[in-house]
Structure formats: C-alpha cells, structure tokens
C-alpha cells in the first residue's frame, strides 16, 4: 500500500509529469475565464478553499512528510536542517493561500449580492492603536520569538566541512530561496537565468501596479473581480518560483539528475542528456548539410524564432485576441506586460523543448557568449 503510494508519487514527481499537471491545475484552481470557472465549479475544485479543503490539503502534506520521514531515502533530504525552512514554507504558503482565498470567496459572494466586503467598516468608527494594535503586535512578536528560540535550541545550525576549492560537493545546491534560479539555470544560459531574468523578475514585480489597471479589489480579499491578474501572478509565484524550489530541494540529486523523493540517490544514475541546438536540428538533421560557417546565417532560424516570439507575437495578439486589452491599457503598458509576460512563459516553453526535443539553445553563439 505504502509502496504503491511511494511509486505513484515518484512517477508523478518527474518534472515532465508534475510540472504539466500543475500547469494544467493552476488555471482550474485560479480560473481566469468563465470557461475555466465552469470546470472549476463542475469538479468542485473551489471546495479547496473551504474548511474541509484546508484539512484535506494539510492532511495530505502531513501524510506525505510522515511517509517520507520513515522512508530511508527521503528521510535523508527531509531531515537536513537546511531543508526545514522548505517544510515550513510548504505549510505556511498553503495555509496563507487558503486563508486569503477563502476570505476572497466570502467577499466575492457578498459583492455578488451587492454588499460591501467583510473588511469594510464605518470610517468614523476607528479603534485606537494603543492598546488595540500594539498588544497584538506585542503578542505576535513574543510568540514568534518563542518559536524561533525553540527552533534554535532543537536544530543546530548546519556547518559542513571546511571550504575546499578543489572538491565540489555532489549535488551542490544554492541557498534554498535561490533554488528556483538554479533550476532556471539548467534551461537557460547564465546571462539570461542569472542576470536578465532576475532583473525581469524584480522590474516585472515592480511594474505590476502600473500594468494592472483594474481598480477593483483594492484593500480587501477578492478573486472574481481580478481573476486574470491573480492567475498570472499565482502561476509565476507558485509554479515558476515555489515549485521550482521544491524540485531543487527534494527532487535534485547527485549530478543534478532528477530523482523521485523516495528514490535512492544513485550517483551513477545514467541519464542521456545529449542536447542539440536548433541550428543543428535545422542544418544537420533537416537539410543534411554541415553548419554554415557564417554565425548569423547559422543561427538565422533561431533569431527569427526569438524575434517572432518576442516581437511579432505581441503585435499579432494586439490585433486579435488582446484587441480590447490593447485598446484599454495603451501601447506602453501593453508592451511591458508582453515583455515581462512572454519572458515569464518562455521558461516553461524552454523546459518542454528541453524535455521533449533535447533542445539546448534556440540561438547558440558560444563564440560571443550569446545563447538563448
């Protein structure tokens, strides 16, 4: 029974499967359109944001960790002191997401009925900061300090062997909050995954208030009024950041190979990773000629692909499906929305290209350190 559960989880957690499933689930859990909303209602996915949903979710996470604790292989990763924050993160993110979404659903219903959101109070009926807020702050920081001290007494801060520049530990992982970035580095060159994308994440996040022109849902939990915005944010936040951290922590083993959580970390696991560039696909496999010596000619197909994706595609969208959006938010907002949005979705696209076609680079110019 438990073994079946373990092998099912191992099979499900392969990135090809888990990432696909989660990508399909996200629009169902946070339905951005009426069509998705209908499916959400049909399968009762909204029940996740009710109390039974909370208990089920918490129960499943706990069951997973308890089974993992008694599994000799998962136990090693699970009980590493530095991985404790990840466990904390999984619990707290789920709980607070549930909290916010359940409040949002309550408010959505109230707004449908024409009522004000729960948070609304008479502006003249205010409370005093002293003592009403100050004591809450005081209690919460005392409780948090107690938690932190207990945590510090129970779990010693890890210290590995002294630094040795000649031996890289296998696997060698970045701090846990950067594992999303490290996962990105598998699919993109350092100049993109290490510099350009982090910049885009920072500037893209800072640009959110300017790109999201929807005035509704300001100052209270709500979902229906701003479902597209919430969907895009949640996909980036939950799947492309937090889930990649979970992959990096629990599913990446020696030689950065992929391992199911209950699988033994075999350092000699052989995974064929013969990656091929788009130019090689085109010139060698399709046309059966050698690679042209002219770099620009060699990579012309890659340049056309990237240009089409980043520049032609938004123009095409602006004329068709996003016509209303373009008219509403104007060219500057639209351009930045597309720049950040398409860059964000280029990560899953590149991941799938790598998994299914072993595609390494779309543009590969190692001579200039310019690989995409």
């Amino acid at each position: 029974m438990i073994d079946t559960f373990k092998s099912v989880i191992d099979a499900l957690s392969t990135p090809t499967v888990s990432f696909t499933l989660l990508s399909i689930f996200t629009p169902l859990v946070f339905p951005p359109t009426d069509w998705f909303d209908k499916i959400n209602r049909k399968f009762g996915i909204w029940r996740l944001w009710t109390k039974p949903g909370l208990y089920t979710g918490m129960g499943f996470i706990t069951f997973f960790f308890v089974v993992g604790y008694f599994d000799p292989n998962f136990n090693i990763t699970l009980t590493k002191p530095d991985n404790f924050p990840i466990i904390l993160m999984i619990y707290s993110m789920f709980f607070f997401l549930w909290l916010g979404m359940s409040k949002a659903y309550v408010n959505d219903e109230r707004i449908d009925k024409g009522l004000k959101p729960v948070e609304y109070n008479d502006p003249d009926d205010k409370v005093l900061v002293w003592p009403d807020l100050v004591y809450i702050e005081f209690i919460s920081l005392i409780l948090f300090m107690v938690f932190l001290i207990v945590w510090s007494i129970l779990v010693a801060a890890p210290l590995e062997e002294p630094a040795n520049p000649a031996t890289t530990p296998n696997p060698s992982k970045a701090p846990w909050y950067f594992l999303g970035l490290q996962e990105m580095l598998v699919y993109f060159d350092p100049w993109l995954a290490g510099i350009v994308f982090p910049m885009f994440i920072i500037f893209g996040m800072m640009a959110i208030p300017y790109m999201d022109t929807n005035p509704k849902g300001d100052g209270y939990y709500s979902f229906k009024e701003r479902r597209i915005g919430i969907f895009i944010f949640m996909y980036g936040w939950l799947i492309l950041w937090l889930f990649l951290i979970v992959i990096g922590t629990f599913f990446r083993g020696p030689n950065w190979n992929f391992f199911g959580p209950f699988e033994y970390w075999d350092p000699h696991k052989v995974v064929p990773l013969n990656n091929v560039n788009l130019s090689e696909y085109f010139w060698v496999k399709m046309l059966n000629t050698g690679l042209p010596s002219n770099i620009m000619l060699r990579e012309s197909l890659g340049f056309i692909t990237v240009f089409a994706y980043m520049f032609m595609f938004p123009i095409f969208l602006a004329k068709t499906w996003f016509k209303d959006l373009f008219a509403k938010i104007g060219p500057v907002r639209y351009t930045s929305l597309m720049l950040f949005g398409l860059s964000m979705f280029s990560l899953p696209i590149k991941m799938y290209l790598r998994w299914f076609f072993n595609l390494k680079y779309i543009i590969a110019i190692p001579e200039w350190f310019f690989n995409i």
């Binding site: 909290l99 205010k126 510099i195 919430i230």
Partner: protein, 264 residues
C-alpha cells in the same frame, strides 16, 4: 480628579511622578486622549497612526507578516552584532571561529537564532508580499510603496546570500561560487557575458577576468580571502545600511499613502 492620596494605586502614583511625565507626557494612557498622545508622542510608536480602521488590527487581514519581517530584521541586527564579537573574516579563522561559537560560548544558540531567523525572514517577507498582492494593496495610491517593497525583498535575499559565505564551509563557497559566476555572464560588464568582447581597443579586451563586475564583487579572480572580507562588509554594513534607508521610506509611505489598505 482630586482623589485622596491613599486611594491611588502605585501605578497611578508612578504615572504622576515627574520622571514618568518627563518620558510620557500624558501620564498613564488611560483615557482616549491619553492613549492617542502615547502613540503620537513616541518616536517609535508614531510609525502608526493614532487611530485605525477596525479591519486593520485583525490578524486575519494583515497576517502580521510585515511587522514580523521588521521584527526579524531587528533580531538579526542584534544577534549579528553579537556574532561579530567572535567572528574574524579570514580564511584562516572563519571556520574555526564558527565552531568556537557553539562550543566555547555559554548558551551558544546565537548563530542558530541568526541563521534560522534569516530563513524565517525570507519566509515572512514572501508571505507579506503574498498578502499585499491578494488584498490588492499595491493598487493606487500604493504603487510606489509596492516597488520599494520589491526592492526590500531583493535586499533581504541579497543579505541572506552574502551571509551564506561567512561560515567558510563547503556549502558557503560553492553557493557563492555559483552565485558570483552568474555575474561573470553579465552582458557587457562580465567577461563571459554577451557583448563583452565588443568592449575592446584593438586586440586588448577591456573586460577580462581581472576587470569585470565579478572581480569587483570577489576582490579577486577566485573566491578567496578578499571575497570573504568583501562579503563580510557587504553583509554587516553596506546592505543593512541600504535596507534601512528603504525601510524608512517604506514605513513612511505606508502612512503617507493613506495608512493600511482597506475597502473604500
């Protein structure tokens, strides 16, 4: 008002003493007016307005995560200062000093508090961001403050990253090697980034291993003595200093943008 001296409680007498009144001018905050004075007269508490809408004090709405992040920043500052008494940022001593911290100092959980506190702060900052997003609190007039918040989150991560190197163990140098090698690939100013080879006079590359942004970060071509010192200074002084400036702006703007967000 004119109570008999004998009926007054100790607290009341204390509240009327010259010392107390010199500190909190309105006396013991008991009436509504005195309580508002207590907030307005305190340099620390006047981060808050004197009065708040009711929903703003509910933990269910705020999750208290912003406050906890600030609290953790203070905890980390204090524990960090204490750690600096024992720690020497050199390749020779760094690792052994860290071992000494746990073994030769009574109640030596200071490093644990610092490390787990740093992990916890990353989490509280992320949860704070999630709350602000889910309540739509980044919407006008709070766009600018959301941007400041994003920068503060980046600084939190950078503080954690620079702190990672200091124990000088295997985890430290390899996490930092990987991290700083990304800088090597910075377009134009990293020696293995796209466009770096364009910045050349004749045959001489201007951007090479000894003159790029990674060199400036490491203080050398490899992660070594100079790197440890640079990251130590960044971690203990430079980044907290910048973070404090942004924090001041962040808190100021919460007040100036109309206090905590709420439905209109």
């Amino acid at each position: 008002m004119a109570k008999n001296d004998k009926q007054k409680s100790l607290l009341e007498r204390l509240g009327e003493s010259q010392v107390w009144k010199s500190i909190i001018r309105s006396g013991v905050p008991k009436t509504r007016r005195q309580r508002m004075h207590a907030i307005l007269g305190s340099v620390f508490l006047h981060l808050h307005p004197a009065r708040l809408p009711k929903h703003a004090v509910k933990v269910g709405y705020t999750w208290c995560m912003g406050g906890l992040s600030f609290f953790l920043f203070i905890v980390l500052t204090i524990t960090g200062i204490l750690l600096m008494f024992y720690y020497r940022p050199t390749v020779e001593y760094a690792y052994t000093d860290i071992i000494d911290l746990t073994e030769q100092v009574p109640l030596g959980i200071m490093r644990e508090l610092h490390r787990w506190g740093a992990h916890a702060m990353v989490l509280t900052v992320w949860l704070h961001m999630l709350r602000v997003f889910m309540t739509g609190s980044y919407k006008p007039p709070r766009e600018f403050n959301w941007g400041v918040g994003v920068l503060l989150m980046t600084l939190t991560l950078f503080l954690s990253f620079t702190g990672y190197l200091l124990p000088w163990d295997q985890l430290a140098i390899w996490a930092v090697t990987v991290g700083t090698n990304m800088a090597r690939a910075h377009p134009f100013i990293g020696h293995e980034g796209p466009g770096a080879s364009l910045l050349a006079i004749g045959d001489i590359n201007l951007v090479h291993m000894g003159s790029d942004v990674r060199f400036a970060l490491l203080g050398g071509r490899f992660v070594g003595e100079a790197t440890l010192l640079r990251f130590y200074v960044l971690h203990c002084i430079a980044v907290p200093f910048i973070a404090m400036i942004f924090m001041a702006v962040h808190f100021w703007r919460i007040r100036k943008d109309g206090g905590i967000s709420g439905p209109l």
